[in-house]
Symmetry: C2
């Protein structure tokens, strides 16, 4: 029996999120099915991030155990041939048998993408939120800096969470702004909110993004963020931005074969 870790990228548009749900099409579900068919044994992967419906990923991580003798380096190619175009295994390798992707320290990075432009772009609309009026990027940068550090993020967490501790550490926030070439539109910009942390609560990045958009629109002051965090009340923060703009960029583990937390 060996444990194989895979990195997974997906377009989340047509999935009811990562996590297995009976009667629904989920990323975990299609991977389990393809793996089980391929290896002819019942496989249930363990995922690192249980992303929401509509959220995308460039580097989610999952592990599975198999008694088959398949070489890990062949898993990606063989599995991709069986998976839909919207889910791609980007790599696979063997890890320690007790490695659990949710039970060891890691650094997760998410990006929230905004097309800030008079009109939406049909070739970006699956992966970014269209905001028509120009956002004040400088104010968004000021506001974003207030999230850095160890905080109780209750205000930035859906009340539907099961998490007991709401304390998380945000290592870095970054607001990037690029010229976007959108047909016939001269001042189109793509704004990317990049957040890196030890882990994120349910809807946390989407609420941070929704709040930063409200800052960019002048509806919330950058200086209000600290008080929002201190309030420990979901109603104190801004709206939850739509899922489609969110992409999980990747997860870094200290070492690929770090043992599980005990």
């Amino acid at each position: 029996m060996k444990r194989i870790m895979m990195t997974v990228a997906y377009d989340g548009t047509d999935y009811c999120g990562w996590q297995l749900q009976p009667g629904r099409i989920t990323v975990e579900g299609v991977i389990n099915e393809a793996l089980s068919q391929m290896l002819k044994e019942d496989i249930q992967v363990i995922g690192a991030s249980r992303t929401d419906a509509g959220v995308h990923s460039r580097g989610n991580v999952c592990v599975f155990d198999t008694s088959r003798s398949i070489a890990p380096e062949n898993v990606a190619r063989a599995l991709n041939a069986r998976l839909p175009d919207t889910v791609v295994i980007t790599g696979a390798h063997e890890v320690a048998p007790d490695f659990h992707p949710r039970k060891c320290d890691c650094v997760k990075t998410y990006e929230y993408r905004i097309l800030n432009c008079q009109v939406d772009d049909p070739m970006r609309t699956r992966y970014s939120l269209h905001v028509e009026r120009p956002l004040d990027v400088e104010k968004m940068k000021q506001a974003a800096a207030h999230f850095i550090g160890e905080h109780d993020f209750t205000s930035f967490c859906s009340p539907q969470t099961n998490a007991i501790s709401k304390i998380r550490t945000v290592y870095e926030t970054e607001i990037m702004c690029y010229n976007a070439s959108v047909s016939g539109i001269s001042d189109a910009r793509e704004i990317v909110i990049r957040v890196t942390g030890s882990g994120f609560l349910y809807n946390m990045v989407r609420i941070i993004a929704g709040t930063l958009i409200a800052v960019g629109q002048g509806r919330i002051s950058p200086d209000a963020i600290s008080a929002m965090i201190e309030a420990r009340d979901r109603r104190a923060a801004g709206p939850t931005a739509p899922a489609k703009g969110l992409t999980q960029v990747g997860i870094r583990y200290p070492s690929p074969d770090t043992p599980a937390k005990t």
Copy 2:
């Protein structure tokens, strides 16, 4: 009665091309329907490029006539509210009543996008062709130069065409190569074949792209292109590349209110 010209962007994935077809969902069909509902009169647009099923656009052009008093600058916003996310009007203005988008000189630009990478990227797969093995970009550049000029492009045209003359002028070809950030993959590249010309025959850009990919794979020599053109035989050229990688980038008219050819 006034004639309004609109620029249109679309994700062609789920459309049976531009042109109206009974019983099928086409870009022209959804625009006609939304415009007719909005203006409460029967509108039939005239499109510039009748792109194939699955081909995308960042700047197709169409015109329509209306007796309503709507200001052209309000057409885009009002119409976008009625159109699906996959079709966006990026601009609209009044043109001369005899302006016909297919009956005056113009310069059309297309891009064919290739993700040249070990694995496909689910967030690019709708808009680019995945080619696993590294392509020889230098050879593709050498080959692309041979298309420039006025030629009989019979070899690069689907035999199903209705076109009488196969003579077209290619003004420019360009092969661009970017580093593509694909999760965990170090040598991913996006290769863009950009072709500008007076007009293109049925499947012409896709056959040029398919031929250039074969050059990049070492299956066709860059020096073979001229003989392929001279052969005036579809069987002399390379394969037709899949529609999904193709995007019509835009159309330039000498002046937006150029009169129709007489």
